[in-house]
């Protein structure tokens, strides 16, 4: 063999050696994971993993852990059941060394409403007395953090209904409203797309208004009876609401509490001499009756 051929062969060997040195670190480098930044809950997807040979793949989610052996250089399938819960996920791929990547799983489309209406009974015509709060969840019960418009439809037993639209903030829509002037059942329905959730509250009469009584004497006894007890909107106070009658005469002061029956309250006193009788319902005072002893 000629010396020039020897030299060329040696040069080739050196170059091949250098090339190998350049390539080797690449072989030793960990397989890389290229994951999407965010996916929707319950959506399967695949990721191409570079390299050759086998590696251990780990997936850590809020409610799920996956560990399996995967072939590098192929597509890695992430099943829909692996990513049903919203939150941050960590994927780790280990061959000669480990590489990790994070991705977010976002809630899917709204599918459920968790709806609270407070309180269950409320006096009529009370400003800001009714609170409606709706939490928006997807089909996997992940809170939907992207803004969505929830419509609250208010349907009173009598009178016209109305609706109000509220945008969710961090998955929550909240509304405060006044009670309507008429007693009875009020239905509030939270609506988001095809999802509806209804709740019912009972509006009851407010405080008594224009409380009046009349006295009917019979011997030493006097019978006191109120007019039908109503609030300022004309709603009858519930049966059983306590009405207080207070009498002051020569024998002293006495009070009788009696419940409303069939819309009115009735009581009978024995009176000695001059007397003054008053009526009240809670903090509301009614009229007074003065008796001069001539019963």
């Amino acid at each position: 063999m000629k010396p020039t051929v020897h030299r060329s062969f040696a040069r080739c060997r050196r170059m091949a050696g250098l090339a190998l040195l350049c390539v080797l670190p690449g072989w030793a480098r960990a397989a890389e994971l290229h994951l999407p930044a965010a996916v929707e809950a319950g959506q399967a997807f695949s990721v191409h993993v570079e390299g050759s040979g086998e590696a251990s793949f780990y997936l850590f989610g809020p409610d799920h852990v996956v560990k399996r052996t995967v072939s590098l250089g192929s597509d890695l399938q992430i099943q829909s059941s692996d990513v049903r819960t919203a939150g941050r996920y960590q994927a780790i791929l280990c061959d000669s060394s480990c590489t990790a990547a994070m991705f977010d799983v976002k809630a899917a489309q709204p599918a459920h409403l968790s709806f609270f209406l407070h309180p269950s009974r409320v006096p009529v015509s009370s400003p800001g007395s009714i609170d409606a709060t709706a939490f928006v969840f997807d089909q996997y019960f992940n809170l939907v953090l992207t803004p969505a418009a929830v419509e609250f439809r208010v349907t009173p037993a009598s009178g016209t209904g109305f609706s109000r639209e509220v945008s969710t903030r961090s998955g929550v829509a909240s509304m405060r409203m006044d009670s309507t002037p008429h007693e009875g059942r009020v239905q509030v329905t939270a609506v988001l797309g095809k999802v509806e959730e209804a709740r019912v509250i009972q509006q009851v009469a407010a405080e008594a208004c224009g409380l009046r009584m009349k006295a009917v004497a019979s011997g030493s006894l006097v019978t006191l009876e109120t007019d039908p007890v109503r609030d300022c909107s004309g709603n009858a106070l519930p049966e059983g609401t306590v009405i207080s009658f207070t009498k002051i005469d020569e024998s002293g002061k006495s009070t009788v509490d009696t419940p409303i029956k069939k819309g009115v309250a009735r009581v009978q006193f024995s009176v000695h001499g001059r007397a003054q009788i008053s009526v009240a319902c809670g903090v509301v005072l009614g009229n007074e009756v003065a008796l001069n002893g001539k019963l």
């Binding site: 989610g61 409610d63 852990v65 990790a100 929550v172 909240s174």
Partner: protein, 197 residues
């Protein structure tokens, strides 16, 4: 680590003329030392007395209902207890402590996660450097509070005893808490991308 016979031989050599009683004492000392060394090298499981992480609650401007001071104190305490229990459960892959502070979806999800950790032989160690909680919603009837947590956590992931990943970036969580008979429970705890709110 040296074996017990190695250590006892070394002690014999050092003392030269150990009496039989002295040798027994020295061997016992060596065994105790080894046991302590093994105990220190094994993974630590959080005991109920483990230190609580720091939790700072900011409830300024909370709507639609302001927070009472006692409620704020209770929430911060139970949130800290919840993270202590969660870290312990994720490290030990045991679910016993989770029912104390978690309820509903949060409890179900962590129970499932820890069950699957146990099956696959992986676990997570959390070094908790504290939480800044910001209350963002408190329902008028007092039945739900939504909070945002900026947590400083170091999370080490293990397969068996092999450390496969370490993460130490700040994390944000969306939290839903509801009151129980004597405490506030975490009903939902979801990690969200940083600066989501």
């Amino acid at each position: 680590m040296k074996s017990v016979p190695d250590i006892t031989r070394a002690l014999e050599k050092a003392s030269g003329q150990l009496s039989e009683a002295g040798f027994v004492k020295a061997a016992a000392f060596a065994i105790v030392a080894c046991a302590l060394a093994i105990a220190q090298s094994s993974p630590q499981i959080h005991s109920p007395q483990a230190t609580l992480p720091e939790v700072h609650l900011d409830a300024d401007g909370l709507t639609p209902r302001p927070i009472e001071q006692l409620t704020g104190t209770t929430i911060a305490r139970h949130y800290a207890l919840a993270w202590r229990d969660l870290a312990g459960a994720l490290e030990s892959s045991r679910t016993e402590g989770l029912s104390e502070e978690f309820i509903g979806f949060a409890k179900d999800r962590f129970m499932q996660r820890i069950g699957e950790q146990k099956q696959t032989g992986v676990h997570v160690r959390i070094v908790d450097h504290g939480h800044r909680l910001k209350a963002v919603f408190y329902s008028t009837d007092g039945t739900a509070m939504q909070l945002l947590d900026e947590a400083q956590l170091e999370i080490e992931t293990f397969d068996g005893n092999k450390l496969i990943d370490t993460q130490s970036a700040p994390r944000e969580y969306m939290v839903l808490m509801t009151p129980g008979a004597d405490r506030w429970y975490i009903r939902d705890l979801e990690e969200v991308p940083a600066k989501s709110f």
